[in-house]
Amino acid sequence: MSEGQPTQRAEEAEAAEPTEVTTGADETAERPVTTGAESVARALERAGVEHLFGVQGGAIMPVYDALYDADLTHVTMAHEQGAAHAADAFGIVAGEPGVCLATSGPGATNLVTGLADASMDSDPMVALTGQVPSDMVGSDAFQETDTTGVTSPITKENYFAGDADTVGDTVGEAFALAREGRQGPTLVDLPKDVTKGATEREPEAGETPETYDPPERADSEAVETAAGVLARAEKPVILAGGGVLKGEACEELREFATEYGIPVVTTMPAVGVFPEDHDLALEMAGMHGTGYANMAITHCDVMFAVGTRFDDRLTGGVETFAPEAEIVHADIDAAEISKNVHADHPLLGDAGTVIEQMGEAMADERAADMAATGERFQDWVEQCQQWKTDYPMDYAMDEEGPLKPQFVVESVDRATADDTIVTTGVGQHQMWAVQYWTYTEPRTWVSSHGLGTMGYGLPSAIGARLAADDDQSVVCFDGDGSFLMTLQELAVAVREDLDITVFVLNNEGIGMVRQWQDSFHGGRRMASEYPWMPDFATLAEAFGARGFRMESHDDVEGTIEAALAHDGPSVVDAHIDPTENVYPMVPSGGANGQFVLEEDQL
């Protein structure tokens, strides 16, 4: 735990910067395409890709060779899972697909978790995998895996590249598909003979195929009906999902909600789409959502849900989800309509466009019945405020007692700017990070929602860092268990000299599992307590990062300050109260309005 001095690696990295060779865009234009691999590289440049995350290997080598001359920076990750999470987080923060590369076989299979994660969260991402030469496919050749077969259920679309002439077009199409309509990960499997094969064809500008036609504007009659229903509601709620973020509809949402005075609840992927310090914000609903958000969705009479797939962590048991509400559901993916919760008024279209359409239609409704809207909603808004008072987000803390994780989260929030990006692993720490941090801007909350992938935190911080503005801070809240899963990526953060601060909320065990065991398995703590844990601060130093240890409330402020001040990666090993649990909680399959506030209520 050295004080003050940047690590040697960081210094070297800084020194190396001015001498870095830049390949200008002009040079790119003069570089003719001669192989399939070069066509792939050209397609990436055309798509505006700046950073790639990957690991080298036999079958992907021709592509890497072509990247040698391309106008792109490649970040070599420690593990392909890290490459996929980094690309995923890059996509969330930048709004444009992040790209990861891997070789065939084990390289490709190591991407699987990251692809599944991106797929569940509809994150824009493109994966390029090497493959054995076409004539060896199917022969169980060295490092062969049926990558398109394995990844078919966890990609939006995947391709087996056919020949050198068209491979660049395929990559372009994969890009277009990843970002258009409902976003998601796409994959192109690249047999070595295709990437090595000769071609002079420049790839075409990437376009989605003709059969892909996501809806833009919702049917206007349907919008009118839905607007009428919403305008005549007495207890309306807006449920904003990740689609609001992906559809760049945050502005439209804010305008709509404030114009009509409708309280806003978000799903976990949508955290940040509506400022949490706004009067109408009820924050996140669901299993570990706020009591007031869950009361509001339980008692609302009309729910305007935008861009959400009604995940069971949000709905609890569907029988009791918003049981009295007529549901207006806007989504760009028809298959999400009435998949989990029946939509009384489906609106197929792009989130921003539909919210605008609803805004216009509501204006007409309101003109027709002015008094009906504004005032009637007022009682309901007051009711929601009352719930905020009845069920505040709070925790018990004894200054002399063990360190409270919630206090650590709040303290980091206080010490950083509003646009700071937070990434997390999965577990209790993830929930404290979402509950006790006030998110006011979109694309500042980066987490693994649908898949719930431990180990997501550090590699996603790397991707987020590279997508973020230079003056934006990136912090990662991780659990000791989650951090152990991918901490080798610290080597990458150090090598690339990335300014990231990791707070390991260390409870010497896998806390979320322990909480469930205590609550639902009679306290039989099978395999959830770690009798020994590495010293994460020393470990960080071994990687060439800065390490800190934090044990008491008195340490908090000073340590946070020192860790944030370090210009490069640092790790704070925060030894928190191992008995602390996450509340409120809706037991799985339960009713949202029946959230419990402490173990006794279970």
Binding site: P153, F160, T211, P323, Y391, D394, Y395, A396, Q406, E598
Partner: protein, 215 residues
């Protein structure tokens, strides 16, 4: 807890049983229950027809999609159409109404799928079964084959192989009738179907037909 100075009490508020309870309820399909009717959806058997691009892996994608989402699939058949670039996939499923709509939408979502439609009850549906029975009573076998309008494909001293085509009910009945001879093996194709009369089977087909046949 905003200033970090005070010692708070933790989460507080009315306990679950003290909170107001909503009176409404939904079904397991997420449909709001009308207390008057309390209607639940019963499964029904139906045919979906999908026109798809002839790309490698499309069939695997479709069958994988249906099975991993746990839909109750009865049969799935595929074959090319008049256009060598497209194939028709016919899926027979047995699901409650929301499940049928979900399969339809999930199929439509596959990038290589051009058009999907549920066929009405009056659609023309056909299935083929080839079955092999013991050959001790060739005359009787022949009689049953004739009764079902079938054809004998192969007859030897020990086995007779016949084919029957027809709708699902007829095939089921024919199989039952052949059981008396002892069925050694059988192979059913699963249903394939077209919309009846002038109606187009999927929406895309009308458009294409008009494009090609326009003067």
């Amino acid at each position: 807890m905003s200033d970090g100075e005070t010692t708070a009490e933790g989460l507080q508020g009315p306990a679950p049983e003290e909170r107001p309870q909503p009176s409404g309820r939904r079904t397991s399909h997420g449909v709001r229950i009308d207390p008057e009717t309390e209607a639940a959806h019963e499964p029904r058997r139906t045919v979906l027809s999908a026109l798809v691009q002839n790309e490698p892996g499309v069939l695997a994608k479709i069958s994988g999609l249906v099975s991993r989402r746990q839909f109750n699939i009865e049969s799935l058949t595929v074959g090319t159409t008049t256009n060598p670039e497209t194939s028709r996939v016919t899926v027979v499923i047995e699901e409650p109404e929301p499940g049928i709509r979900q399969v339809e939408k999930q199929l439509a979502k596959v990038v290589n799928v051009i058009s999907v439609r549920e066929l009405g009850g009056d659609a023309v549906r056909r299935e083929l079964v080839v079955l092999k029975v013991h050959g001790e009573e060739p005359d009787k076998v022949n009689a049953i084959t004739d009764m079902y309008g079938g054809e004998t494909l192969d007859a030897g001293p020990r086995t007779i192989t016949v084919q029957i085509t027809g709708d699902e009910q007829k095939i089921d009945d024919a199989i039952d009738a052949f059981r008396q001879f002892g069925i050694r093996e059988l192979a059913r194709t699963g249903q394939t179907a077209l919309a009846r009369g002038e109606e187009w089977t999927t929406h895309a087909e009308e458009e294409r037909y008009e494009r090609i046949h326009e003067p």
